[in-house]
Structure formats: structure tokens, C-alpha cells
């Protein structure tokens, strides 16, 4: 059962885990009009993303992300994780209607444990050795 790949602004690469796992699956990107208005995007950003999408084997729509994805009546949806709260909200809404598989993005630092994020210096003290030794 081929899933529908959901592309979003954090994962626009053919090397993303979703395409690696499901090569050839149909893919959809939706310009989120609510996000564009909330962040007051200008045409530059939209064109930059559009040029990126034109190099990818996907369809492009605009509107409500959840509505446009569900309008395709997918059996299931696969995407790559994001920490953007809009993404998390959309996943929660989609999951009420269809199974959603969220693949983890490739981590920059493979740190086992809890990082202290109070200040960058505290984070850096932990991750620097990993970044330079691995």
C-alpha cells in the first residue's frame, strides 16, 4: 500500500528519510496560507520554495495543509518530523482521520541523555566533543 508523502518546509530534499524509505511514492506539498499570513511572508520565500519544489517529483497546492492532504483520500501519510508547532498540530489533526508515520529527521548530534539548554555554552560543552571526534 503506497503512502502519500507529505512534504513540508523543513524537509525539501530527495535525500530526506521519507523518500529514502518510500522512493517513487506520490508526494504533496501544501503552501500553508495560515502560516504565510501569520509570518507575513513576502513573495521571495514562496518563490524560493517553489523553485525547490520544481526540482522534486511532487504536486503543489496551497490552502489548509490538513484539508488538502485529506482531500487526496490517502490510506496513510508519511512525513519527516519537525519541531514546528504548526507541524505538530497538523499531525494531531491528520491522525484523527488517517494513519500518519512520522520518520525522524537526521540528527546533527547523536547525544544520549538530556541536554541543558539554559544557555548555548552549556549545550556546547556536551556536544562539541561529539561533533569533532565522530
Amino acid at each position: 500500500m503506497t503512502p502519500l508523502l507529505w512534504l513540508h518546509p523543513d524537509c525539501l530534499s530527495l535525500s530526506s528519510p521519507a523518500w529514502v524509505r518510500y522512493p517513487g511514492a506520490p508526494a504533496l506539498f501544501v503552501f500553508d496560507e495560515a502560516e504565510i499570513e501569520a509570518e507575513q511572508w513576502t513573495l521571495k520565500r514562496i518563490a524560493f520554495l517553489y523553485e525547490t519544489l520544481l526540482e522534486l517529483p511532487c504536486e503543489i497546492e496551497r490552502g489548509s495543509v490538513v484539508e488538502r492532504l485529506l482531500a487526496r483520500r490517502p490510506a496513510r501519510i508519511v512525513t519527516v518530523g519537525s519541531v514546528n508547532p504548526r507541524f505538530r498540530d497538523a499531525v494531531r489533526q491528520l491522525e484523527r482521520a488517517v494513519p500518519v508515520e512520522v520518520l525522524p529527521a537526521v540528527p546533527f548530534v547523536d547525544y544520549r541523555g538530556t541536554l541543558d539548554l539554559k544557555r548555548f555554552a552549556r549545550y556546547w560543552k556536551r556536544v562539541e566533543p561529539i561533533l569533532f571526534d565522530s
Binding site: 530534499s13 504565510i36 511572508w41 513576502t42 521571495k44 520565500r45 518563490a47 505538530r88 539548554l117
Partner: protein, 263 residues
Amino acid sequence: MNRDFASRQELAAYLSAEFPLAAARDPQLSPMRGGAQAARVRLEAIDPAKYGFNRNYLDGSVSRLSPYIRHGLLTLGEAREAAFARVKDRFHAAKFVTELAWRDYWQRLYATLGSGVWQDREPSKTGLAPEAYRADLPADIAQGRTGLACIDSFVTELRATGYLHNHARMWFAAYVVHFRRVRWQAGALFFLSHLLDGDPASNNLSWQWVASTFAHKPYFFNRENLEKYTGGTHCRACPARGRCDFEGSYEQLEDRLFRIKLT
């Protein structure tokens, strides 16, 4: 939506029609192009060793990879490996990799804060009450008509390209928040509106670092600092030359801008 365009002009016209509100805010397209091919060209051009010692200068060897990393065309790991491959000793890529780590740090904070990135992380360290800051961005700043050559130049560049050197971002943010006393959120939204790499975490938390709601003290600068890292380009032609807001020592500016002694 359409996928076939004969030219970039045709794409621009199509997008203007499809996204009229975004086009009304600013219809320009950036000379920086989207796409994996453009990302690869940028990645092959990085010089992490030079970046290590000249990155604070506006003509320094900055990579301009941020729009591609922001949108997942490149991973931070790919950028790190490319940097290591270009130096004899990994130490020579240290500054470059540190900046990549800042992106990772902001994203990790975003995972815990969510939309809280729009709220002050901590009280301001300026000694000024929140009411001292106006809520909206003054029109002369947004339109690049302050009469300060540096600030107006940064706005023009931001609007035309969707990109600003990090040091210019810091100067601009300090001008907006401390010299004009505008709430950092108004400046952050202006940047999100125009930056190709606009990301609420990296952007807003950096504004908070300047404002001192996510730092031990506010970031500010004087003309001497700006002149040094810009080669004096803006100051030479500035109508406010010799009497601009940024004249003076750090101690003098501190007295003028804040209500507490920082040192």
C-alpha cells in the same frame, strides 16, 4: 499548481497572482535561487578556514547556506562533513561548525518552547519597563528611510535578497530594540517576513539575545564597531555622518540607552 514555466519572470507573475497578499507586501524575487542544485553550488563554495577569521566582516567568507539548511535541502551533518573535508585539521573548521550547532541548539529549544518563542524567555536586563518599548515597527525603518545609511542599506538588501549577513542582523536588531525602543517581536516579524531562512526559533531567539530577554546583557554597538566590520562603506556616504545615533564610546551609549549599569 503549475509546474511548467518558460522563465523566472513567468514564475514570478504566476506566484503574484496565486499569492496576492504576499506579493502586496513585497513582490521582489531573490537572486538566491531555491533547489538542490543551487544548494550544492553553495556547499562546494564554502571556505571554513577563512570563515574562522573573517566571518564578522560584511565581505567575509560566509557560506549563505542558511536558506538551504532551514528548508532541509542540506542537513547540518552534510554541512559539517563538507567543512571538515576542506580543512587539514578539523580545528580550522571549528567556528563554522559552532555556527551549525547554533541552529541545532535553536531547534532543540523550539521543541520545548513551541510558540513560546514569541514570549520573553527572561526579564529584560536593560532596566527599562516593558511599556518603554513600542509594539509596532516604525514605517521609516520598514521602508528603509531612517536617514542612517547603514540601517537603510540593510533594509534595502533584506527586501531585495531575503538575506542579511549575521552581523548586519545583529546591528539592525540592536538599532530597532535599543536605539528606537521597539519590542523585539516587531523586528522579529519583519525579519520572518523577508528572510529566505526565516525560522521562528533561530530568528526570535536571536532577537531575544540582542534584546537581553535571552542573555545576561543587551547587545549593542557603536559606529566604530560598525565602521570596522563594514570597511566604512556606509559611514562615508551617510547623511548623518559625524552625528548619528551610534556615535560615542560604549560607556556613553550605555548611559544613553539603558537604565542600569551593565559593567
